[in-house]
Symmetry: C2
Subunit: 558 residues, 2 copies
């Protein structure tokens, strides 16, 4: 993004054509502002990888120009990359109180507290970074304290919505600031970046209060213990669980590290109101009658190590689900998690629990935190942008969002569907997208950040499918005759004790190959030699097993 002085440039380092690792960059002249710094979970093709974060090469090259990291809210896909990226690039961080509270927990876990300055903002804050003035507007979402961001630059105003929905009856009176949004629109918006998660979904996302009503009803009906699982970060929903527990005179126990963490921070910062004597320790649950108990727990996505999964398989060290208990899954499985969630429901039924699960449209136990089509049109109508860049979604979501923008009057030539790294440059009110900067996925594996590449992943894939077969042989330096071996070792291919005949044949083939090469005096061309063993053994195994393990010949000369 080397541009002339008066150009406004916008680029995503992550978050378009994907759900996750949101990171957007706005640059005017020598001032760069970063918006969000998320992570995402790898799909099943990235074997052994723990996490994906954005490739920040561009930011590293321009580190002297970076003024701030502004964080719109505290979800993982907006804050999860922070501890990894701060190690390479120090930036002051701006966020609301709850957002910074959640970031601090992360920094603490990585022993990074104090590594950078954290500045608390609220929806009324204004900040100045060189030529860029930054202000905010309140939105709602499935976590409290979310903001959209307004960038006023000499070139014009850019709005980034963050994640949002229009919940007009929000749980904790955090109304979306419609009047402020209308004002911003009236003053003219050059470019809008708006999130697209639910752009495929018709209608208007229901209010979170709907879930509260259904939770309360289920609590009234439940005769014994209640277990309820939801995303820990959904503080509004946690409040509604607390309210229902109060109304039905139940004590509340918390299970799961992230649940305990979030409740503690949200309570401390005043986002959760918990009656004084309501919280009890899981170990004290036994002291109460079953109908006096609610257990709020993690694991609603079927995570195998989380509380709900352990409870379902009677594997929790403190609590157990008994016949007649009620278990509520206040969530919808994210694609890919269905099987794990189904397994939990199976197990809970085995325990003779009553389980409220399945499609949220039937149970009423979940609503989305994201704007559906009518709300996206409402945002576009309020902001009336000249240029529109749909963000935060896979391609089909961005595509549907484009159609929505066209339907409310945005000129189709002024809509930019970009890839991560595509730069939109606006000069004299004219936008073009012609250049790209380097970006992509940085893979985190254990302590390694970016050290696992395609070769390692390809090997893991091959290993996972058919394992490895190692052929070891020792030759004498002088005559090239076999001093020991060939020995054959297998991992993940066949179980050696049950495959003697097959592995004997591999030894034979290796010996024959060595003899053949010997005759041709090719014994010292090591690469050729290894290649010949690989091929002859590989062909034999494929013919006889239809499997292709990695074949690794090790030849030692002494």
């Amino acid at each position: 993004m080397n541009t002339n002085e008066s150009t406004l440039s916008i680029v995503a380092l992550g978050g378009v054509n994907e759900i996750g690792k949101n990171m957007y960059v706005l640059r005017y002249a020598d001032d760069i502002i970063v918006i969000d710094c998320g992570s995402k979970f790898p799909d099943e093709s990235l074997l052994g990888i723990d996490l994906i974060i954005p490739d920040i090469s561009y930011l590293l090259e321009n580190r002297d120009k970076i003024r701030a990291l502004i964080v719109t809210h505290g979800h993982e896909d907006h804050i999860g990359g922070i501890p990894y990226i701060l190690k390479q690039l120090n930036m002051p961080i701006y966020g609301t109180r709850l957002t910074l509270g959640l970031i601090e927990v992360k920094l603490q876990e990585h022993n990074l507290l104090g590594i950078t300055d954290l500045f608390t903002i609220n929806a009324e804050s204004t900040l100045e970074f060189g030529n860029i003035e930054v202000s905010f507007f309140r939105t709602n979402h499935s976590i409290p304290d979310c903001v959209g961001v307004v960038f006023s630059t000499p070139e014009g105003t850019v709005v980034h919505t963050g994640d949002f929905k229009f919940d007009l009856t929000p749980v904790n009176d955090e109304y979306p600031d419609l009047h402020r949004m209308a004002d911003i629109g009236s003053n003219g918006v050059l470019a809008l970046l708006s999130e697209s998660t639910n752009a495929e979904r018709p209608g208007f996302t229901p209010s979170e209060q709907l879930v509260g009503e259904n939770i309360e009803e289920a609590f009234i009906r439940a005769k014994k213990k209640i277990f309820i699982s939801t995303f820990a970060s959904n503080v509004h929903r946690l409040q509604q669980v607390i309210d229902a527990a109060r109304k039905t005179n139940r004590k509340l126990a918390l299970l799961g590290r992230s649940m305990v963490n979030v409740v503690s921070i949200a309570h401390e910062l005043g986002y959760l109101k918990i009656p004084d004597t309501m919280l009890i320790e899981p170990s004290d649950v036994k002291a109460y009658e079953p109908h006096r108990i609610v257990v709020l727990c993690t694991g609603s996505q079927g995570e195998p190590m989380a509380a709900l999964s352990r409870l379902a398989s009677s594997d929790h060290r403190q609590l157990e689900v008994l016949a007649g208990d009620t278990v509520i899954l206040a969530s919808t499985p994210i694609p890919g998690n269905e099987r794990n969630v189904a397994r939990i429901v199976d197990n809970l039924f085995q325990l003779k629990a009553k389980v409220i699960y399945g499609s949220a449209s039937i149970t009423g136990m979940h609503v989305s935190g994201h704007a559906s089509q009518e709300e996206l049109k409402l945002m576009l109508s309020l902001m009336k942008p000249k240029y529109f860049i749909p963000i935060h979604g896979e391609f089909r979501m961005l595509h549907q969002h484009r159609l929505l923008a066209e339907s409310v009057g945005v000129d189709q030539n002024n809509i930019f569907i970009v890839n991560n790294g595509d730069v939109v440059d606006i000069t004299n009110q004219e936008a073009i997208q012609r250049r790209r900067i380097t970006t992509g996925n940085t893979l985190v594996d254990g302590l390694g950040i970016g050290d696992v590449g395609t070769i390692v992943l390809r090997d893991r894939k091959l290993l996972s499918e058919d394992g490895i077969l190692i052929v070891v042989v020792t030759l004498s330096k002088m005559e090239g005759n076999i001093l020991s071996g060939p020995d054959v070792i297998s991992r993940g291919f066949v179980y050696v004790r049950e495959s003697e005949a097959l592995l004997n044949e591999v030894r034979q083939i290796t010996v024959q190959t060595i003899h053949k090469l010997h005759e041709k005096k090719n014994i010292t061309q090591w690469d050729f030699f290894k290649q010949m063993i690989k091929e002859s053994v590989g062909n034999y195994l494929f013919t006889h097993t239809k499997r292709r393990p990695i074949i690794l010949p090790i030849i030692i000369q002494v």
Copy 2:
């Protein structure tokens, strides 16, 4: 299942507490009848496994008593195990014409044609095997020519529904035979085995005709080429595609091996009516104007190698999707396939196609082939069984099916929710479930059937996560000093060229470990020696990388 003469025994070898690999066994005295012989796909934990089939140890032990394999219909989860199991156990196979046609294709692919006798039955057939008389009743499902099976034994009548729905306006006038079912019920049913796939779904599954109407409407609206993808085996839906093509004056091309196979068999056997000049070769599509073309293709589940996926990524050697073409996904993604399907839709939108996708309740392009709750209650009400065994479903489906049975008056003590291998014995009209036979999953990997066990799978899992690190060292037999190495080889752990320092350290640690052992004269205790190297290298790597590759020390003595 060693029982006395007058006991009727029922057991599942596959199909309960799972979706897939259906196989049920009915035994009276010395006569055994097997119902269905399915396969299922492995989940992601079974790395490298191609297919799962039932463990048939019980049948092998009783091979002299097996009279027949009766197949209810031609879906993979009912016929997919046949070629693998016939290799070990020859049984005559009974099925309807289409079912046998599809089985023959399988046998041909495995070079097994003629290995056993195939007997064609229809809904009016009756068979006798010793003391057991077998008859059938017509049902509907998402493949034609399905039957339920009635077993009349001296102990009483057992009914197995096969897969079914009640489509009262079926596409090809294959009405479910309500009157026959009512008759069977009137004559008394001792035990009913009924499928549970949709036992969680309220209401009545819509008729397949609904899909036909929506296909026709979409065809009328389409301006250019139409691509439509569905399960090849859904012959009713294929017929509706053909009918819509005829009405809109379009030619039909077929893409994908299974589509070509099924259309050819179904056409030949008279299950598909195709106008004489309608079918064209994919290579001839170019010769027609776009609005004259329908392409019917495989890949509706997002299978990466299937036609639709190739078309979406512009990677098909004969055809391409162009701007303005219509693509219809007449299917619902099976859990686990959502991401692959979503990727295809993304790519099709990139090509500027119109795509009809997403929830079938919105598009109307798919209906289930399985009975919903009201239909399951209808079957139970028609059959009025004394004993009920819900089959064909995961535990929560069986559980919901049990509740439905109770709601229509089946005594709750007469409902058996079983595991694969649990035997229900009925003697003098009294059923008990107390004994088990051996069964389970037989894993197919390449040509190997059952030769991949837990150790190999555990290794594949470890290899897939952090790879393998091999440490090779040659020692002299006499003094035990190092003659060559230690050499370090890695696959799937780190990329060697970028990890010199780390691997050098591994070499150092190996040398130190050898020296230490040398001093203590432990050098010849090989297992201990290897264990020490594993531990010292493993600890070092975990501390420095937080990864745990398999560590494989190879020590050669010469």
